[in-house]
């Protein structure tokens, strides 16, 4: 398959920016990069699931796509789940379905016993095997696997790699999306690194260090004016210490325990300000007005102008605002009370430059005003722009505390778990 100069935008963000890529038969290609680098978007374009803005896809052939989330019917058995994907009318008994399913499973070389079991009763690893079987059963010329190992045990991952190698040896092109560098190095013949919608590295000989560097491209610390002196300890929890007058940034590849950390802090510190990572799901109440959203924390509607929310009036439905303005409403709601502790998770995700600068300015002002700020972010530029102290989160564990200067040289390896 050949992708030529593909560009795909979502609103103001360029998820995929002028990318060309050849996917060769008989090769295991690993596509790596941070979350939001554009890996999944590019592959969905390749599979024909997403329309693209410009560019061309040629020689697509049959594409199998194993998604990160399961597309299975839990109430049905393994056999029924395999049967529902085939089209056309025919009579079928449970027994014939199970027999056919057993044959299909055997032909893929993946071990999954007893096709009459209900999917709801399967382990996560078995479910992902079933997804893989579903995809392979259609004999695709290209097979795309999106983070397939994130839910597998090491042993199951090994099994998967064996299947991948066998398929590739038989001429299937395999694309393996991952951000786990050791696996990628073990299984892939070719590694392509994406960052911010572009391919930054395409290599057949890579080392973990080189990949980590390409993935994150550790930016030089951008030191703003930092006249803050660390204040008293405001909250302590395991390896996490929040001090007044300090911005502590937790960085890491998404999915390493950031969400759990934010949630635990929300439950432990109900009086603190919380800016949730998923604005539409957890932040804004779309059906309520701006004023009502503010009033949830007892903030008067006048705060809207202070936080330069652009809207016709405070009575406008919050759900009709742009993402940036919704975030400003949340910021106003949480920060206007001058909380002692602020937990901000991905506060600028999906925002344009102006809105991002605004959010950063407000966080800095709050820290200068004495607040203890925890910034959880997967955007390293943001972390270096704001943080007084940094910690890396990897597999639910926090690294030691580092100054931004120390972090600049160590963060990439810590994030990839190769340190």
């Amino acid at each position: 398959m050949r992708l030529t100069r593909i560009t795909k935008t979502f609103g103001a963000t360029r998820a995929v920016d002028d990318v060309s890529l050849d996917i060769n038969a008989g090769e295991v290609l690993a596509l790596v990069g941070e979350n939001g680098a554009g890996k999944t978007t590019l592959m969905r374009v390749a599979a024909g699931e997403l329309a693209f803005d410009s560019g061309a896809v040629s020689d697509r052939g049959a594409v199998g796509f194993v998604h990160q989330h399961f597309l299975l019917v839990p109430e049905l058995t393994i056999a029924e789940n395999l049967a529902v994907t085939s089209s056309g009318f025919r009579f079928a008994t449970h027994r014939t379905l199970v027999r056919e399913a057993t044959e299909i499973i055997a032909s893929t070389g993946i071990a999954l016993h007893d096709a009459s079991r209900r999917v709801a009763d399967l382990s996560v690893g078995e479910k992902s095997k079933l997804e893989l079987i579903k995809a392979i059963a259609k004999k695709p010329s290209t097979l795309i696997l999106d983070e397939p190992t994130s839910v597998l045990t090491p042993h199951e991952s090994e099994e998967l790699f064996t299947v991948m190698r066998t398929l590739a040896a038989n001429g299937t092109a395999i694309v393996f999306i991952s951000h786990k560098l050791p696996e990628v190095l073990a299984v892939a013949q070719r590694i392509v690194v994406m960052r911010a919608g572009r391919i930054v590295l395409d290599t057949r000989e890579a080392t973990a260090e080189r990949l980590a560097r390409a993935m994150t491209q550790s930016p030089l610390p951008v030191r703003g004016e930092r006249a803050r002196v660390r204040g008293a300890l405001a909250h302590e929890r395991g390896d996490l210490k929040l001090h007044e007058n300090e911005i502590l940034a937790i960085v890491g590849v998404a999915g390493n325990g950031q969400s759990q950390l934010a949630r635990a802090l929300r439950d432990a510190l109900p009086e603190a300000a919380h800016i949730p990572e998923d604005r539409t799901r957890d932040g804004i109440v779309a059906d309520l007005s701006i004023a009502e959203n503010l009033a949830l924390r007892g903030v008067p509607p006048e705060a809207m102008t202070l936080y330069s929310v652009r809207a016709q009036s405070a009575r406008q439905r919050a759900g009709d605002l742009s993402g940036g303005n919704q975030q400003k409403v949340i910021l106003a709601r949480e920060l206007d009370r001058h909380p002692r502790i602020i937990v901000a998770a991905e506060p600028t995700r999906g925002l344009d430059l102006d809105a991002t600068a605004f959010v950063h300015e407000k966080l800095r002002a709050a820290a200068n005003g004495g607040a203890a700020i925890l910034l959880i972010t997967s955007d390293l530029d943001e972390a270096f722009a704001l943080a007084d102290t940094m910690q890396v989160i990897y597999r639910d564990e926090l690294s030691e505390r580092m100054t931004p200067e120390e972090a600049a040289s160590r963060v990439a390896n810590l994030m990839a778990g190769v340190a």
């Binding site: 929300r266 957890d282 804004i284 109440v285 009033a295």
Partner: protein, 316 residues
Amino acid sequence: MKRALVPIGAALTAILLLALSGAAFGHSPRELLGLLITGSVGSSFALQGTLLKSVPLLLTGLSVVLAFRAGVWNIGGEGQFIVGALAALVASRYGAIASIAAAMLAGAAWSSLATLMRLWRNAPEVLTTILLNFTAIHLLGWCVNGPLRERAAMYPQSDLAGASLPRFGGIALAVIACVAAWFLLYRTREGLRLRATGSNANAAEWAGINVRAQLARAMAISGAMAGLAGGIELLGVTHRLFERFAAGYGYSGIAVALLAQLHPLATLASAFFFGALVTGAGELQRTANISAAVATFGQAAVILTLIGFEHVRRRA
């Protein structure tokens, strides 16, 4: 005001459909329409009947509005209505005020059983409240055949309640409840929390709201409204309990609330409309010999046209 166009249009269309369907059975649509109108609002007698029917509909409608606004699927208005009336009867010897208070408490307690089942076993309210309806219906049946059966023991019904409301006292209570519901939802912090929970429970939780407490509270308030409806119906209209006492008021409350677009004040108009439909259907039965069950048909037609209109509006 624009928001009101859809439900009003849906209600009028449904009535027209109802009249037109009469043509299939050899009745003139125009005549049917005339009977529906004179039978419901055409005379002061008809109007009184409509108002009396509207009171329980208004309260069960408010019960549904309050629950649905908070995202609690209370389908148990029927059961809460019955239990409210039972409590009102038992407490009626202590006077009308005690009786009404008992009705509201009983309704709240009955609906809160669903909350308890949610907390205990994560049982969905849609299921538990509807099952509690059947429990309440049978509880009522047992009571009027057993412990609460009239002393004369002639019919399966209770004695007269020991207190009563003036015939139209219920209207005043219902309208007060309606304004109170509006005030709660749109003029208090508590109501804001209820609505926030109903439209996005995740965000509500992140904004520091105790979502489970909100759901429990909404369920209790909703049950109290339905219980109040049962108490008023007993003390102001029927004065006795009998097996078919609830007559579907609890379920009709859902239609009332949906036509009112879950707005408490609009529920006034919506309840009056459905009340008129019931009395108008009674007139059809008396004059044109058409079963009064046509009112149920009308209710269904209103909701279906409402859904259709909403669909068209969203696409436009």
